[in-house]
C-alpha cells in the first residue's frame, strides 16, 4: 500500500479518537483503516478533500510518506462507492519495475476491503496477448509507463478505452516532467484531456525547488480544473555525516579507495547499507576493492544498469529477502522501489546535486518518523568541500533547480505520427491539443506545420518524396497514414530513450595471448555478463584488461553483436573505464563550494588536512573568490600552465578548454593541450603565457570574454561529437532513423544510414531543416553546461584575478594529477595523424 508493505503500521499514526469520524470515506475503506487501528495521514485526507472539491492535486512529499496510497485513495473510495465500467484510473510511473511494485502493494488492501476492482500492469514485459486483451477489456486500475500510454493512444480504439477514464495518477513526476519522456507524457495527457474532459490528475513528486512548474504542468491538459497543492512536511530530518577518515584524502581521483577499510567496518556495524556511486565504472571499482578486503565474506552485491537483467533480479530478490548486507549501486536504485529495509545510505564520491542526495537519502528507512541516516564519502579533497556544501544544503532542504525547456520537436513528430495512426488527423484540432501540453504551450503554428510536413515527407525544401509520403492529406482535409505498415513502424519506434549502441559481453575461455598465437578458436557459449557501450569495446585490443561485473576481464574479440572476454588474473585493469562523472556538479552546490573556499571563517568544519591545504593556497597564491575567477600561471617541466577554477563541472570546463585553446592558438601562445576536472581547467602552452598576460601582450579579459560563445562556439559545436550525438537521438526519436532493435541487426533487411552522414549532408545543404532546429533546441537542454558556461563568463567579466607563480600552487595539484589519466580532447584528433606520420618520416630517414 505504502511502498513498504512490511511497515504499514509505521505509515499511519494511531489516533486517540478512532471511531469518531468517517474521514469522508466509504464505510468499507474506513473500516479497513479501523480494523488496522490506523488513521489516515493529513495529506491523504487532503487528497480526498481536493477530489471532493473537483480538483486535480499535486502532492509533494519525501519518499516513504504513504505517498502512493494518497494518490490512489480517491480512486479506491470512488470505486467502493460506485461500480465503474471500464478503465477508471491510469497510473503512470517512470520505471516499469515501479509500476509492478506499486500494483503488488495495491492489490492486497483492495482484496482486504473486498472490493471488486481489477488492478493490472502493462509494461514492455507484459505478454502481447494480455496487452491485446487489455485494449478491449481493461482493468479498473492500470499501471503503466509513458511509452505504453503512447502505444495505447496510437490504436483506433483509444477513445473507447479511455472514454471511461476518471483519474490519472502520475508517480515520481519530478523524475519525468522536465525530460523528453515528460514531453511525450504531456502530449499523451493532452490527448487524454481531449477524450475525457472530466479527467482529474493526481501527481506525486519528491520535494522540488519549483513545485509551481509541476502544478502548471498537470493543470495544462485539463485547463478547466484547479489543482490543489498538497504537501507532506515534517518527519524526522535526516542524519547526515561525512566520513572522517584516518587516512589522507587523496588529491585527485574518484574511487575513494582510501576509505574502503572504513566502509567495510561501517557495513559490518549496520544492518543493510546502500552504497551509491555516480557511474557504473565507479561501482565496479568499489565493488572489487570491497571484496578484496572482505575477509568476513559479508554478502555484498553489485547493481547497475549494464548488468544482465537476470543478475540484477537476483540481487533485488536477495535484497528484499534481507539476505544482503550491502549493495553497491548507481542511479538504477534512485527511484522509489521498495527493496526492503535499508538502514544506511552511503554516497561515495560527491553527490553533485543536493536534490539527488536528498532522494538517495530517502532510500534509507521508509519509516517516516525515524531519521534517515546517510554518510558521505568524498573521493578527493575538492569533494570534501562539495560534500560539506551538500550536507548543508540537505539540512536546509535546499533544492537544485532545473530550468524547463520547450518541448522537443522530435518528440512531437513521434506523437503526431502516433495520433495519425489512431485516427485521421485534423491539423487544427491537433495543434490546439498540442499547445495544451505544458512544454508545448508556446509552440507556433508555423513550427507545428513544419513538424507535420516532416512526418509526412521528411520536410525537405525539395519535394522529392511526395510519392512515398507516410501521411497524405485527404479530400476531407485530414491527414491519414498511407499504409498500415506505417503504424507498425511507429510502434517499433515509440519512446524517447535512446540507448548508446550496446554489445552483449560474454565470458569465454581465453585463447591465451602468447606472442604469435593470434589464431585459434575462441571458446564459445560462456556466461553472459551484461552489456557495455560499443564505442568503449571497439577501442580495445585483444588482451586489454578492464573491470566488468565486478571482475577483471581480458578483451578477446567482437563477434557479431557480442564482445567476448575471458577471465584475467591481472590485479590492475589496464584500461580504466572511468569516463568522467555522469552528472555535472549542480550550479547550486558549485556556488556553495565557491562560498566556502572564499570564506576562511567557514573552514573550521573542514578536516585538518583540507584546512591545511587551503591555508597553504592562501599563503602562496590566492583563494578563488565567490564571484570572481582565479587564474594562475606557472612554469612546469618546460611547459607553461594556465590553471583556472570556475567550478562549473567537467563538461563546461571541457568546452571552455576547447574554446580557450582555439583563442590562444589564434593569439600565437602555442597551446599544447588541456585537461578538465569538475572544479578546474588546466591548459599548457609552449610559450610563457604568464609573462604574456603580465606584459599585456595577452589580455585575460579578452581571452575569457563572453563572445567566445558566439562564433567560436558555433564553429566548434557544429564539428563536435556532442552535436552529432544529439542529432542522432533526435533522428531516432522523430522516426527519421529506425531504432536498432536487439537481434534485428543481423537480418540485414534494411541497411541503415549513419546519422553522422545525414547530419553532415543536412548541415551543409539544409541547415534550417526542422531536425537541425530540434537538435539545436536540444543542445540547450542536453548541453546545459554551455548555458552554465555562459552564466559563468558573464559573472566573472572583469573579475578575473591573475596570479603569476613560479611553481604549481596547492589548489592546482588535483587537476594537474588528472593529466595523462583523462583522454585529451583534440580537434578532430589531427595530432594523432601528425604523430603517426612524423614517426614514419623518422623511420624513413633511418633514425
Amino acid at each position: 500500500m505504502t511502498k513498504t508493505t512490511r511497515n504499514h503500521s509505521d505509515s499511519f499514526q494511531p489516533s486517540p479518537d478512532l471511531f469518531s469520524q468517517s474521514w469522508g470515506m466509504p464505510a468499507v475503506v474506513r473500516d479497513w483503516f479501523l480494523a488496522r487501528h490506523w488513521t489516515p495521514r493529513p495529506h491523504q485526507l487532503d487528497m480526498l478533500e481536493a477530489d471532493r472539491a473537483g480538483k486535480s492535486a499535486l502532492l509533494i512529499a519525501p519518499t516513504g510518506a504513504g505517498k502512493t496510497l494518497s494518490g490512489f485513495l480517491p480512486s479506491i473510495c470512488e470505486l467502493a462507492n460506485t461500480p465503474h465500467e471500464g478503465l477508471h484510473t491510469l497510473y503512470i510511473s517512470p520505471l516499469k519495475a515501479l509500476a509492478v511494485d506499486v500494483a503488488r502493494n495495491l492489490v492486497n488492501p483492495i482484496e482486504e476491503m473486498g472490493l471488486d476492482v481489477r488492478v493490472e500492469t502493462r509494461t514492455g514485459d507484459t505478454p502481447s496477448s494480455r496487452r491485446q486483451r487489455q485494449r478491449f477489456d481493461p482493468p479498473s486500475i492500470l499501471m503503466t509507463t509513458p511509452e505504453q500510454l503512447a502505444l495505447m493512444l496510437s490504436h483506433a480504439e483509444a477513445p473507447k478505452l479511455f472514454g471511461t477514464l476518471r483519474r490519472v495518477v502520475l508517480d515520481e513526476l519530478h523524475a519525468l516532467a522536465l525530460s523528453k519522456r515528460g514531453d511525450l507524457l504531456s502530449l499523451g495527457l493532452a490527448r487524454l484531456g481531449t477524450m475525457c474532459p472530466d479527467l482529474k490528475v493526481s501527481a506525486l513528486s519528491a520535494t522540488v525547488a519549483h513545485p509551481e512548474i509541476l502544478r502548471d504542468w498537470i493543470a495544462a491538459p485539463c485547463p478547466a480544473r484547479d489543482v490543489a497543492m498538497v504537501s507532506q512536511t515534517g518527519g524526522a530530518s535526516p542524519e547526515l555525516s561525512i566520513l572522517a577518515s584516518d587516512d589522507r584524502v587523496p588529491w585527485a581521483g574518484h574511487s575513494a579507495q582510501y576509505a574502503v577499510p572504513e566502509l567495510l567496518d561501517i557495513i559490518q556495524q549496520n544492518g543493510t547499507s546502500l552504497l551509491f556511486v555516480n557511474t557504473r565504472s565507479q561501482a565496479e571499482m568499489l565493488f572489487q576493492s570491497l571484496w578484496e578486503l572482505n575477509e568476513d565474506s559479508l554478502p555484498i552485491a553489485l547493481h547497475h544498469g549494464s548488468l544482465d537483467v537476470e543478475q540484477r533480479r537476483k540481487v533485488e530478490a536477495a535484497m528484499v529477502a534481507g539476505k544482503l548486507r550491502a549493495v553497491v549501486c548507481t542511479s538504477t536504485l534512485d527511484l522509489g522501489i521498495d527493496w526492503g529495509d535499508v538502514d544506511l545510505v552511503m554516497q561515495i564520491g560527491a553527490p553533485k546535486g543536493s536534490s539527488r542526495l536528498l532522494q538517495r537519502i530517502g532510500r534509507a528507512n521508509h519509516r517516516l518518523d525515524e531519521p534517515s541516516r546517510a554518510i558521505l564519502v568524498p573521493a578527493n579533497r575538492f569533494e570534501v568541500l562539495e560534500c560539506e556544501a551538500a550536507v548543508d544544503a540537505a539540512e536546509e532542504g535546499a533544492q537544485d533547480s532545473e530550468d524547463p525547456q520547450p518541448g522537443g520537436l522530435d518528440v512531437l513528430a513521434q506523437h503526431v505520427l502516433g495520433m495519425a495512426c489512431s485516427a485521421p488527423l485534423d491539423a487544427d484540432a491537433q495543434f490546439d491539443e498540442t499547445i495544451r501540453a505544458w512544454p508545448y504551450r508556446d509552440l507556433t503554428r508555423e513550427l507545428f506545420d513544419r513538424v507535420l510536413e516532416f512526418v509526412a515527407t521528411g520536410g525537405y525544401a525539395l519535394k522529392a518524396y511526395e510519392r512515398y509520403a507516410r501521411l497524405r492529406k485527404t479530400a476531407d482535409g485530414t491527414w491519414r497514414i498511407s499504409h498500415p505498415k506505417i503504424a507498425q513502424q511507429y510502434r517499433l519506434n515509440v519512446g524517447t530513450i535512446v540507448e548508446e549502441p550496446m554489445l552483449k559481453v560474454r565470458l569465454v575461455r581465453s585463447k591465451a595471448h602468447k606472442r604469435g598465437a593470434t589464431t585459434g578458436p575462441i571458446g564459445r557459449g560462456g556466461r553472459m555478463l551484461g552489456e557495455m557501450e560499443e564505442y568503449f569495446l571497439s577501442q580495445l585490443m585483444p588482451g586489454d584488461t578492464f573491470l566488468f561485473g565486478g571482475e577483471i576481464v581480458a578483451f578477446e574479440a567482437i563477434r557479431d553483436n557480442e564482445a567476448y572476454v575471458s577471465r584475467s588474473y591481472h590485479n590492475n585493469p589496464k584500461i580504466p573505464s572511468y569516463m568522467g562523472g555522469k552528472f555535472p556538479l549542480s550550479t547550486y552546490l558549485a556556488e556553495r563550494v565557491r562560498g566556502t573556499l572564499a570564506d576562511p571563517t567557514s573552514w573550521k568544519k573542514l578536516p585538518d588536512q583540507v584546512r591545511e591545504w587551503l591555508s597553504l593556497q592562501r599563503d602562496v597564491s590566492k583563494l578563488p573568490g565567490k564571484e570572481s575567477l582565479l587564474v594562475e600561471t606557472f612554469p612546469k617541466a618546460d611547459k607553461y600552465f594556465i590553471v583556472c577554477y570556475p567550478f562549473e563541472g567537467r563538461l563546461a570546463h571541457q568546452t571552455l578548454g576547447m574554446l580557450l585553446t582555439r583563442r590562444l592558438e589564434r593569439d600565437r601562445a602555442k597551446p599544447l593541450g588541456f585537461v578538465a576536472s569538475e572544479y578546474a581547467l588546466a591548459i599548457w602552452c609552449a610559450l610563457d603565457v604568464g609573462q604574456m598576460f603580465k606584459s599585456g601582450r595577452l589580455s585575460l579579459d579578452e581571452l575569457f570574454s563572453e563572445d567566445m560563445l558566439g562564433d567560436d562556439l558555433e564553429d566548434w559545436l557544429d564539428e563536435s561529437s556532442l552535436m552529432r550525438r544529439t542529432f542522432r537521438n533526435c533522428a531516432i526519436i522523430s522516426g527519421l532513423i529506425e531504432r536498432r532493435h536487439p537481434g534485428k541487426e543481423k537480418t540485414g533487411r534494411q541497411m541503415t544510414m549513419s546519422s553522422d552522414l545525414i547530419y553532415n549532408v543536412l548541415y551543409e545543404h539544409e541547415p534550417d531543416h526542422i531536425l537541425m532546429q530540434a537538435t539545436r533546441r536540444d543542445a540547450a537542454r542536453g548541453l546545459l553546461d554551455i548555458e552554465r558556461l555562459g552564466h559563468c563568463l558573464k559573472r566573472i567579466k572583469r573579475h578575473i584575478i591573475h596570479q603569476n607563480l613560479d611553481r604549481i600552487s596547492p589548489l592546482a595539484v588535483p587537476v594537474m594529477l588528472e593529466i595523462g589519466k583523462e583522454p585529451i580532447f583534440g580537434e578532430g584528433r589531427e595530432s594523432v595523424l601528425v604523430e603517426a606520420a612524423e614517426e614514419l618520416m623518422r623511420e624513413a630517414a633511418g633514425e
Binding site: E665, L672, L757, V834
Partner: protein, 233 residues
C-alpha cells in the same frame, strides 16, 4: 587541444606501379601522366534510395558529391574521369536524379572524357553519356571496381578503406588510400558513404599486410601512416 597546424606544402605523391599519383583530400586520385581523375564509390542517389521504405533522408547527397567532383576537376585541370564503380547506389539511381543533378552530369560527360566502370551496386550500363564498361586497362594498369587478387597492377574501390590510428591511447578513424605492390584501393568518394577498417578480413585476400601502405586523409593534408599504429575498430 591545440595541434601544430600543417603548413601548406607541395602535394604528397603516391607512387604505385611505377606511376606517380597525387592523392586528394576529397578521396580522389589525380593521375598527372594521363591528366585523369580517378574516383571510386560515388554512391549517387543513396539517400533517396531509402524513400521507398519511407525513410526520408536528406536528398542532397548527389548534389554534394557532384559538387566535390566539380571542385576537383577544376582544381586539377583533369580532362578525363575514371569512376571505378558503384557510381550509383543502385541501378535505378540513374532514373531518380533530380533535374539539376542530371543537368550537371550531362555537362560533365560533355566536357570530359568520362568512363563509368560497373560496380556491384550499379552493374548495368546506362544512357547518361560517357562510356560504360566493366573494367578498363590503361597504361599497364587495370582499373576495376572490386579488388581481385588475380590481377596485378590493379586500382580498385569497392571496400571503402578506412584506418583507425592509435598513438598513446588516443585514436582517430579516417578514410584512406591503401596499397601494396600489386594493388591500390581507393577510399569511397560519395558523401553518403562510410568506411571499413583496412585490418578487417575483407582486405586480407587482396592486400599484402607485409608491404601494405596507408595514406590517411586528414583535415588539411594526407598523412602516410606507419602501419604499426593501425588498430581495429
Amino acid at each position: 587541444m591545440s595541434v601544430a597546424q600543417a603548413q601548406p606544402q607541395s602535394p604528397l605523391e603516391l607512387i604505385f606501379a611505377a606511376q606517380t599519383f597525387v592523392p586528394l583530400l576529397s578521396g580522389a586520385l589525380f593521375w598527372p601522366a594521363q591528366n585523369a581523375l580517378l574516383v571510386a564509390d560515388l554512391h549517387l542517389e543513396k539517400m533517396s534510395s531509402f524513400a521507398k521504405s519511407r525513410q526520408f533522408f536528406p536528398p542532397y547527397d548527389t548534389k554534394a558529391t557532384l559538387a566535390k567532383l566539380e571542385r576537383d576537376l577544376s582544381e586539377t585541370g583533369a580532362t578525363r574521369v575514371f569512376s571505378l564503380g558503384d557510381s550509383f547506389h543502385r541501378d535505378e539511381g540513374t532514373t531518380t536524379l533530380q533535374i539539376h543533378d542530371r543537368a550537371l552530369i550531362a555537362e560533365f560527360v560533355a566536357h570530359y572524357d568520362w568512363v563509368w566502370i560497373a560496380g556491384n551496386h550499379d552493374p548495368s550500363a546506362h544512357d547518361l553519356g560517357g562510356h560504360c564498361c566493366d573494367e578498363l586497362s590503361m597504361d599497364g594498369l587495370m582499373l576495376s571496381h572490386e579488388p581481385d587478387a588475380n590481377i596485378a597492377q590493379q586500382i580498385a574501390g569497392h571496400l571503402h578503406p578506412g584506418a583507425r590510428i592509435r598513438i598513446n591511447g588516443r585514436s582517430t578513424k579516417r578514410p584512406c588510400f591503401v596499397f601494396d605492390h600489386d594493388r591500390l584501393i581507393m577510399p569511397s568518394y560519395g558523401v553518403s558513404t562510410g568506411n571499413l577498417n583496412v585490418l578487417k578480413p575483407a582486405f586480407r585476400p587482396v592486400m599484402n599486410k607485409e608491404n601494405m601502405r596507408v595514406f590517411a586523409i586528414g583535415r588539411d593534408q594526407i598523412y602516410p601512416v606507419a602501419t604499426k599504429y593501425l588498430v581495429n575498430g
